[in-house]
């Protein structure tokens, strides 16, 4: 009996010693290392980072998590953060991180040459890398092509129990609602959200891929997602009965809702030069092409062409709400979403 106690104590001591040694090696960090906090799915970012690592010899440590979680984490960690770079899918979150002084203003000629100014922070503390659009995905067996032209169509009573929407926690829903709110004002946005809520019922999803899946199976007729989920689904299931509509392109319409994936260097980073190399790599033409194509997004570098399977960028227009405004609009948007009671 006493021996089992000794075994337990020995095990505990051993594990404790291991922890300490791990901690010790963790603090004595290598010079050529970059810690990247990424709000983007690991699968969609790791190949590019691996490529950078192979080219530059700078080792990348990746931490993938939710966007808002990471902003909260950066804020809680403050000056002690191990992160050098923050990369995520939502311009509103990047702008918010900038306002919290978590990001470092940058002066980089390569960036200014490659990325148009509307896709960057005013002080370049974050830089857009690729663009995505809200689209409506519909089941071609259940919906005729001209039945849905605008996002507002989905709020009509005829779609009761026939549409799927993302849950109110997703940054892209919040950003989209902010754009609608900035374009049409509170009242119209509220009506729109109430219509969506009534029509979606319990079809509220955590993940856009689940929405596309539900549409493809005919569980619902249509849903709101980012454009690339449709192409991702079609890549694995080419016969799926789904199609995408770029919405609100009619005369006087709002235009498609756009958001960008962007990158910024943290204020606390001790590896600014290495981080600059990463950004240079990502805004250069080769990096742009690779980064955008991995996720079937639109590159922001004007000279880089998007994946040919995407809807040609020149055939539609985007809503005229500056990306940097997404951060200031967010709090009011959240309140509106909560008032309506979206899940």
């Amino acid at each position: 009996m006493a021996s089992s106690c000794r075994t337990f104590l020995a095990l505990t001591l051993f594990l404790g010693a291991l922890t300490l040694s791990q901690w010790a090696t963790g603090t004595a960090e290598a010079a050529e290392k970059l810690v990247v906090y990424s709000g983007r799915a690991e699968r969609l970012i790791k190949p590019v980072l691996d490529e950078f690592q192979a080219k530059s010899g700078i080792q990348i440590e990746l931490l993938s998590s939710g966007t808002t979680e990471l902003v909260n984490r950066l804020q809680a960690e403050g000056d002690h953060t191990p992160a050098d770079v923050f990369l995520t899918n939502d311009a509103g979150s990047l702008e918010h991180a900038r306002e919290l002084k978590l990001l470092r203003p940058m002066n980089m000629r390569e960036v200014e040459r490659a990325i148009p100014s509307q896709f960057r922070a005013t002080d370049n503390s974050w830089v857009g890398l690729s663009g995505r659009f809200w689209i409506v995905v519909y089941n071609t067996n259940l919906v005729k092509p001209d039945q849905i032209k605008s996002l507002f169509d989905l709020a009509q009573p005829q779609w009761k129990d026939k549409i799927a929407v993302p849950n109110s926690g997703s940054e892209y829903l919040q950003a989209g609602v902010s754009v609608i709110k900035a374009t049409f004002g509170d009242e119209r946005t509220k009506q729109f959200l109430q219509g969506l809520k009534a029509n979606a019922g319990t079809q509220v999803y955590q993940k856009s891929s689940q929405i596309v899946d539900a549409v493809a199976k005919g569980q619902v007729a249509a849903g709101i997602v980012n454009h690339y989920y449709v192409y991702r689904h079609l890549a694995t299931q080419p016969t799926a009965p789904i199609a995408a509509v770029m919405t609100d392109q009619q005369e006087g319409g709002m235009g498609a809702i756009m958001n960008v994936t962007g990158i910024g260097v943290t204020r606390a980073s001790k590896h600014v030069e290495s981080a600059k190399l990463l950004i240079e790599f990502l805004v250069a033409q080769a990096g742009q092409k690779m980064f955008a194509d991995l996720d079937k997004e639109y590159p922001l570098h004007p000279d880089v062409k998007a994946d040919p399977s995407l809807i040609d960028r020149r055939t539609f227009r985007a809503a005229q709400v500056p990306l940097a405004r997404l951060a200031e609009l967010r709090e009011a948007t959240l309140t509106l979403i909560e008032q309506v009671g979206l899940r």
């Binding site: 009996m1 006493a2 089992s4 106690c5 337990f8 095990l11 505990t12 594990l15 404790g16 291991l18 922890t19 791990q22 901690w23 963790g26 810690v35 799915a41 690991e42 699968r43 440590e61 990746l62 931490l63 993938s64 998590s65 939710g66 808002t68 979680e69 902003v71 909260n72 984490r73 804020q75 809680a76 960690e77 403050g78 002690h80 953060t81 191990p82 918010h96 849950n167 109110s168 926690g169 997703s170 940054e171 319990t202 509220v204 999803y205 955590q206 993940k207 891929s209 689940q210 899946d213 539900a214 199976k217 005919g218 569980q219 959240l334 309140t335 909560e338 008032q339 009671g341 899940r343």
Partner: protein
């Protein structure tokens, strides 16, 4: 039923337990502080939009799962302890296996199998016509069944342990006095195993109300899920804290009630003449019935999901999902879980010991404080720990230590639930005899108390190891950079709908949990148990 009543001066043990309890309630207090200082408008907004629905969903789910696990757990424990049937030895440990299957894995497997357009529905529609629908895994009944299939082993294991340690003499006396078998069951056996049932159900309910993985995948809105949604969509955590406050209050009300019931039924083995029950041989019809029932439950809770995981894993490995990084994930998971379990046993010992041996108001309060952590949902516990550490000991931030604190805070109640009954089983008299015979306090603890409680503590260690291995939200929020665990891998892949790629890590979690589970139900362990009691 004689207990010693002496006045004790505060010992060093008492101080340790007080300080531990203080640290354990600190995160909870932080959350309460944030919630109670929130602007009234936030409160009223939440009341009018979310809270009633969330409260109803959470409570009805907890009740539904508790009822289902009660039926499953007690009936299976009874069958395996009191009946002899082919393969009994295999089934009695096989029924503990669902503990190794994380709820989020079970949820995603069933979302695929029973979901719209899934294989089961397609089969059903070929028989019943194209418009036939099955029970949706996202409905109340679906979620309840899935959660119950995953949690019934808590009740099963604890009730089985109680039944095995039960002295059959009590039942025999009742029978000899002319009481019918059914009345004996109701009036003698069930009351004797009531503490085990209560402890098991307490585990189940706390597990359900703080579960995040399954409810999020099945899109069933509970308070914990809503807390996570608020946390991941808001920069300030006021709304999340308010919802957490409700959760904590709910858990405290429940824990106090449960404890009150348990206080009223404390039993000691007073005589040395322990005899175990002999097993009934079920007839052919009985055997068929029992086997059918056991196979059904086991298949639904473990067999089918495991088969799916194996199939998906094979497909994923064919795609090259296993690389060198995988070894690192395995090491991270095992290392963190073992460390958390050891830490929690050490921290829990003084709390459980004092509360069971000197149940003063203060000691009981210290123990209750440790239980509050379980009802603090994973993400909120993680956030509270994170903020406390960055405020007071920033140098430890980003290390394994922070994560361990969150694990211990979160899973200590699981361990305490089996450490406490173990301590309660030891008659205070035994220790007093040792003291009378000249043993020092320390020697009594080492020679008498520790050997007697060893099995309960091993069970505690194993349960905490398993829980930590499966933990998701706190690991997501607190893991140091480059410290992904298997659970994180499952989540990262599964949340992007790469079910096949998630399968190898999920399967490994299950496999790594197996040796620990075997230890829990091994014959060797049970044999010694009887030796100790007799």
């Amino acid at each position: 039923m004689l207990t010693a009543t002496r006045a004790h001066p505060p010992s060093s043990l008492q101080w340790i337990s007080l300080i531990t309890a203080a640290f354990l309630v600190l995160p909870t207090c932080y959350i309460l502080y944030v919630a109670l200082t929130a602007a009234p408008t936030v409160w009223s907004r939440l009341w009018s939009t979310r809270i009633p629905e969330l409260l109803w969903n959470t409570l009805s789910l907890a009740a539904g799962v508790a009822l289902t696990t009660l039926l499953l757990g007690v009936s299976l424990a009874w069958i395996t302890v009191r009946y002899e049937f082919p393969g009994r030895r295999v089934w009695e440990w096989a029924l503990a296996l669902p503990l190794a299957m994380p709820t989020y894995v079970l949820a995603y497997v069933y979302a695929h199998l029973l979901g719209m357009g899934g294989p089961v529905e397609q089969g059903w529609q070929t028989i019943m016509g194209p418009d036939a629908r099955l029970l949706s895994p996202q409905s109340f009944v679906g979620v309840t069944l899935i959660m119950a299939l995953d949690t019934f082993p808590f009740v099963y294991l604890l009730v089985r342990g109680a039944l095995l340690n039960l002295n059959i003499s009590f039942e025999e006396v009742a029978r000899a006095c002319g009481v019918s078998p059914w009345t004996t069951l109701w009036r003698v056996t069930l009351p004797l195993i009531r503490p085990a049932i209560a402890a098991g159900l307490a585990l189940v309910i706390l597990y359900v109300i703080s579960d995040f993985g399954a409810v999020s995948l099945l899109r069933y809105q509970t308070l914990t899920y809503a807390v996570y949604q608020q946390m991941t969509s808001r920069y300030d955590h006021t709304a999340a804290s308010i919802l957490s406050l409700l959760l904590v209050v709910m858990a405290i009300i429940f824990l106090v009630t449960e404890r009150w019931f348990r206080q009223r039924s404390r039993f000691y083995q007073t005589s040395g003449r322990y005899r175990r029950a002999t097993r009934h041989h079920a007839g052919p019809a009985g055997t068929a019935l029992i086997t059918g029932y056991v196979v059904l439950v086991f298949g639904a809770a473990f067999g089918i999901p495991a088969a799916m995981l194996i199939q998906w894993s094979i497909e994923a490995i064919a795609q090259g999902a296993l690389d060198a990084r995988f070894l690192g994930f395995i090491w991270n998971s095992s290392f963190l879980s073992a460390l958390a379990a050891c830490g929690a046993v050490i921290i829990g010992l003084p709390l459980a010991y004092l509360a069971s041996r000197r149940p003063s108001r203060l000691n009981l309060a210290c123990l209750q404080a440790a239980y509050a952590g379980y009802a603090l949902p994973g993400p909120v516990a993680a956030l509270a720990v994170l903020v406390l550490f960055t405020h007071f000991v920033p140098v430890l931030y980003g290390t394994v230590v922070v994560l361990l604190v969150a694990y211990i805070l979160h899973f200590l109640p699981v361990g305490l639930q089996s450490m406490e009954p173990a301590l309660q089983q030891v008659t205070p008299n035994v220790e007093e005899v040792a003291r009378t015979l000249g043993c020092t306090t320390r020697r009594t603890l080492r020679r008498v108390t520790l050997p007697l409680i060893r099995n309960g503590f091993i069970a505690a260690w194993v349960l905490m190891f398993l829980q930590t291995m499966k933990e998701l939200p706190a690991t997501l929020l607190l893991r140091p950079v480059g410290f992904d665990t298997l659970a994180i891998r499952v989540w990262l892949e599964a949340s992007e709908e790469y079910y096949q790629l998630a399968a190898p890590a999920a399967l490994l979690i299950v496999l790594l949990s197996l040796p620990a589970l075997l230890l829990l139900v091994s014959k060797d362990w049970r044999g010694r148990d009887q030796e100790v009691v007799s």
